[in-house]
C-alpha cells in the first residue's frame, strides 16, 4: 500500500465530499484511511459510495475499539487503489447495507453470530458461522465469552433446521449434496434446484469447518499467531502469514531486510504455482482427461518436493515470521530451485499444448460456468476468477507490498468468464510466476533475513494477493498481544460466484465449474 500519499488523500477527500468528515480522516500504519461516522451520516455516505462504484471488501466487528462504544463496525471500501475504513460505533445494532452492497450480506450475518449485532433490514437472517446446534443467544467472538466449547444442543428440532430457499414449479426437484462429498474434498453443502438436467438455482451452505481461528489468535503474542495464520487455509499458508506479519511489522515499524522479502516473494509465488497446478490438474480430471491432468500433477508434486528441500515443509510452513523469515536458505538449495524452474517451464508448456490441442477438453471448458463481469464488484469477486471475467484487479499491482512495486506482475485479463478463461489465466500466471522466481534468484540480495521484531500496540489493515485472489486481514495489537485478528480470504467472497456461474448449466458440469473457481472451504469457514 505504497500509493502516493497525496493522491490517496485527495481521493479520500473526493469520496467524502466537502464537510467535516474529510477533516477527520486519519491515516493508518499501512496506507489505509480511517474515518469515524455517526449513525446519521452512515447511510447517506454508504449510499453515495455504492453509486460511485466503491467495492465493499471487508466488514467486521470489534469490541472496545472506540471510547464509550461497546462495539465498532469497520467497513473497508476500495476504490482505485485507495482503502478507506468507515468506523461505525454501536451499542448493539446497525442498519443493514446488504441490499446496497451485496458483499455485506455474509459479514453482517457473521457479526450477528459472533457479536450479537442486530442489522436492521437484513434480508437474510439465517445463521452463518454457528450452525443450529450452538445454543441460542451465544455470541462466540464477544470478549465476555470464554474460548471454551459451549453446551451444545443435543438435538435440533426440525422447525429450527436451516431453511434453504425453496424453488417450486413443474418438474423442479432438489439435489442435496454434502457436507460429506464423494471425493477427497472439504465439507460444505450444495442445494441444487434442477429442471431436467439443468441447474435452475444453487444455494451454498458453508462454515461446517468453523474452527474459531479468529478467537484463537486473541491474547497471544504476534509471534505465536503465525502458526494460526498458517492454518487459515493450508494451501495459502505463506500468503496468509505474510499478510499477518505485514500488519504486525507496519504497526511496530519493523524494517524487513531485502533478502527476506525476496525469499518471501519466492515462497509466495511457489505457493501460487502449486495452487494453480492443482486446479488445472483437477479441472482435467473432471473432464476425464487424465493424460493432461498427470502432466500437471507431476509438476505439482515436484513443487511440493522443492518446497520441502528449501524449507523442510512441503507447504513452506515455519518460514515467515514477524521481522523476516526464520532462517536463510542454503545456496545449493537455491541453485536447485533455479535449475528446477528452468526445466519445469519447458515441461509445463508441453503439458499446456497437450491440453489445449485436445478438442474434447476445449469443448467441456467453453463456454461453461460463466461468471459475468457485472457481479464482480457487488460481490467483491477477485483473483483469477475476476481476471478471467474482465476484471483487472491484483493486489500486487493495486496495493503493492514487499518488493512487488519493483516486480509488478502483468495483469492477465480475459473476457469470456468461462472455465476455459480461468484455466488460461492461471496458465499465464504460472509462467509469469516462474519468470519472477527466476528473476529474483538472479538478483537475490545478500544480508540478514530477519530483523528483531518488538511488538508495539496499534492496528492496521493488510491486503495480499493469494492464488485465489485478494486476502484481507486486520490486526489490532494491545498490550503486546493480539486483541483482534480478522481474516477474510478471497474464497469467502468468491464462493458466491458459483451460485451465479452454475445457473443454466447441467449438473455434471458442476464439479468442473467448482474446481475452476478453486475455492477454499477452510479459508472461508475459519
Amino acid at each position: 500500500m505504497n500509493a502516493d500519499e497525496s493522491t490517496g488523500k485527495h481521493l479520500v477527500h473526493e469520496l467524502l465530499g466537502p464537510g467535516p468528515l474529510a477533516e477527520q480522516v486519519t491515516e493508518g500504519c499501512n496506507g489505509e484511511w480511517y474515518v469515524r461516522v455517526s449513525g446519521t451520516e452512515f447511510l447517506p455516505l454508504v449510499t453515495a459510495f455504492a453509486s460511485r462504484e466503491c467495492a465493499l471488501i471487508g466488514l467486521f466487528c470489534t469490541e472496545r475499539f472506540s471510547p464509550g462504544a461497546p462495539f465498532s463496525l469497520l467497513y473497508v471500501f476500495e476504490k482505485k487503489g485507495v482503502l478507506l475504513v468507515i468506523v461505525l460505533d454501536t451499542a448493539q445494532s446497525a442498519p443493514s447495507i446488504a441490499r446496497l452492497l451485496p458483499s455485506a450480506c455474509w459479514p453482517e450475518r457473521e457479526c450477528r453470530d459472533g457479536f450479537g449485532i442486530a442489522f436492521e433490514g437484513l434480508f437474510d437472517e439465517r445463521r452463518l458461522l454457528l450452525h443450529e446446534t450452538y445454543p441460542d443467544d451465544y455470541y462466540s467472538l464477544k470478549k465476555s465469552v470464554a474460548n471454551v466449547p459451549p453446551l451444545m444442543k443435543p438435538s435440533v428440532d426440525p422447525s429450527e433446521e436451516y431453511p434453504f430457499r425453496s424453488v417450486q414449479g413443474d418438474g423442479v426437484y432438489q439435489i442435496p449434496v454434502g457436507p460429506v462429498h464423494a471425493g477427497i474434498i472439504e465439507p460444505g453443502h450444495f442445494r441444487f434446484s434442477v429442471i431436467g438436467e439443468k441447474i435452475f438455482n444453487l444455494e451454498v451452505r458453508m462454515f461446517y469447518k468453523h474452527r474459531g481461528i479468529e478467537k484463537l489468535a486473541e491474547r497471544r503474542l504476534p509471534e505465536d499467531v503465525v502458526r494460526i495464520a498458517e492454518s487459515v487455509s493450508g494451501d495459502e499458508s505463506v500468503v496468509n502469514t505474510v499478510a499477518f506479519c505485514i500488519a504486525a511489522e507496519k504497526i511496530a515499524g519493523t524494517h524487513v531486510p531485502e533478502r527476506a522479502w525476496a525469499l518471501r516473494t519466492i515462497f509466495m509465488e511457489l505457493e501460487r504455482i502449486g495452487s494453480h497446478l492443482g486446479d488445472q490438474a483437477g479441472m482435467l480430471v473432471d473432464v476425464a482427461f487424465p493424460l493432461g491432468a498427470s502432466q500437471f500433477a507431476v509438476i505439482r508434486e515436484e513443487v511440493f518436493r522443492i518446497n520441502a528441500l528449501l524449507t523442510g515443509s512441503r507447504f513452506l510452513r515455519g518460514m515467515v515470521v514477524p521481522g523476516g523469515i526464520s532462517r536463510d536458505i542454503r545456496t545449493e538449495d537455491l541453485e536447485a530451485l533455479a535449475q528446477f524452474v528452468r526445466q519445469v517451464r519447458k515441461r509445463y508448456r508441453t503439458g499446456l499444448k497437450i491440453v489445449l490441442s485436445t478438442a474434447s477438453v476445449i469443448d467441456r471448458f467453453s463456454p461453461t460456468g460463466v461468471v459475468r463481469r457485472s457481479i464482480l464488484r457487488p460481490l467483491n469477486i477477485t483473483g483469477p476468477t475476476s481476471r478471467a471475467s474482465g476484471g483487472n484487479g491484483d493486489v500486487r499491482v493495486d496495493h503493492p507490498y514487499g518488493i512487488y512495486s519493483r516486480h509488478p506482475p502483468s495483469v492477465r485479463t480475459l473476457h469470456d468468464g468461462d472455465v476455459l478463461s480461468r484455466f488460461t489465466v492461471r496458465a499465464s500466471e504460472i509462467l509469469d510466476s516462474l519468470d519472477l522466481i527466476e528473476r529474483l534468484l538472479t538478483t537475490l540480495p545478500e544480508g540478514t533475513v530477519k530483523e528483531a521484531y518488538d511488538a508495539k500496540d496499534g492496528y492496521t489493515l493488510s491486503l495480499v494477493e493469494s492464488a485465489r485472489g485478494q486476502n484481507l486481514c486486520w490486526v489490532w495489537i494491545r498490550d503486546g498481544v493480539v486483541e483482534r485478528y480478522k481474516v477474510r480470504t478471497a474464497s469467502y467472497c468468491n464462493w458466491l460466484a458459483i451460485e451465479h456461474a452454475v445457473q443454466g448449466e447441467i449438473v455434471p458440469d458442476f464439479p468442473l465449474i467448482n474446481k475452476s473457481l478453486n475455492l477454499s472451504y477452510a479459508g472461508t469457514d475459519l
Binding site: N147, K209, L216, S357, A359
Partner: protein, 172 residues
C-alpha cells in the same frame, strides 16, 4: 497470455509422463503384500474432513498422482462410506461437523478402521480447547491409528496405512 486458439489449430501434441521414486516403489510392494494378505486384495478408504485446514486433504489427494498412484498397490478411495474399510479422518472435529461425521462412521460396514491423519485429527492440534471444536477424532469414534504431522507427507501416510494393515493382520 497463453494463446488457446493457436494451440488448438496446431498439430496435436502428446508426451510421456515418466516418474519413478524407488522409495515409494519399495513401500508399495510391502503395502501390496499386506493388502493381499489381510484385506483380500483391496483396501477401500473413505476420506472424511471434520475441520482440517485442507493441507491434509491435499496430501491425501497427492497419493493418486503418478509419483504414488496407490491404486497400483490395491488401495482405492471409495465415494461412499458404505464401500469403505478405512475412514481416513482429517482435522479437529468441529461442532458443525459432528452430526455428519457420526453418520459417515455409522454408514460404514464392520469391521471398520479409523485412521486420524495430521495433528488436528490426532488430538485437536492447535485447535484443542477452541469454542468451535470438540477435539481430535477420538472424541466421536474409536481411532485405530494416528499419523501425526502438520500435515504428514504422502510417504508418511502410506507408512501409516502399512502399519494399520500389519496391526489388523496381527489381530486376526
Amino acid at each position: 497470455m497463453v494463446n488457446v486458439l493457436s494451440c488448438l489449430l496446431k498439430r496435436k501434441v502428446t508426451a510421456d509422463v515418466t516418474v519413478r521414486d524407488e522409495e515409494i516403489e519399495a513401500l508399495g510392494r510391502e503395502i501390496r503384500r499386506e493388502v493381499d494378505a489381510v484385506f483380500g486384495g483391496s483396501l477401500a478408504i473413505r476420506e472424511l474432513d471434520t475441520g482440517s485446514d485442507n493441507s491434509a486433504e491435499i496430501e491425501i489427494n497427492n497419493l493418486t498422482n503418478p509419483y504414488y498412484d496407490i491404486e497400483r498397490f490395491g488401495i482405492t478411495f471409495a465415494a461412499s462410506p458404505r464401500h469403505a474399510d478405512v475412514l481416513l479422518v482429517t482435522g479437529a472435529v468441529t461442532h458443525n461437523m459432528v452430526a455428519a461425521a457420526k453418520k459417515t462412521y455409522d454408514a460404514m460396514p464392520t469391521p471398520k478402521f479409523v485412521v486420524a491423519v495430521g495433528d488436528d485429527a490426532c488430538n485437536g492440534g492447535i485447535f484443542a480447547g477452541s469454542y468451535a471444536v470438540l477435539g481430535g477424532a477420538e472424541k466421536i469414534f474409536p481411532v485405530d491409528l494416528k499419523i501425526m504431522g502438520n500435515p504428514p507427507a504422502p510417504k508418511e501416510i502410506l507408512a501409516g496405512l502399512l502399519a494399520l494393515m500389519r496391526q489388523a493382520g496381527r489381530g486376526r
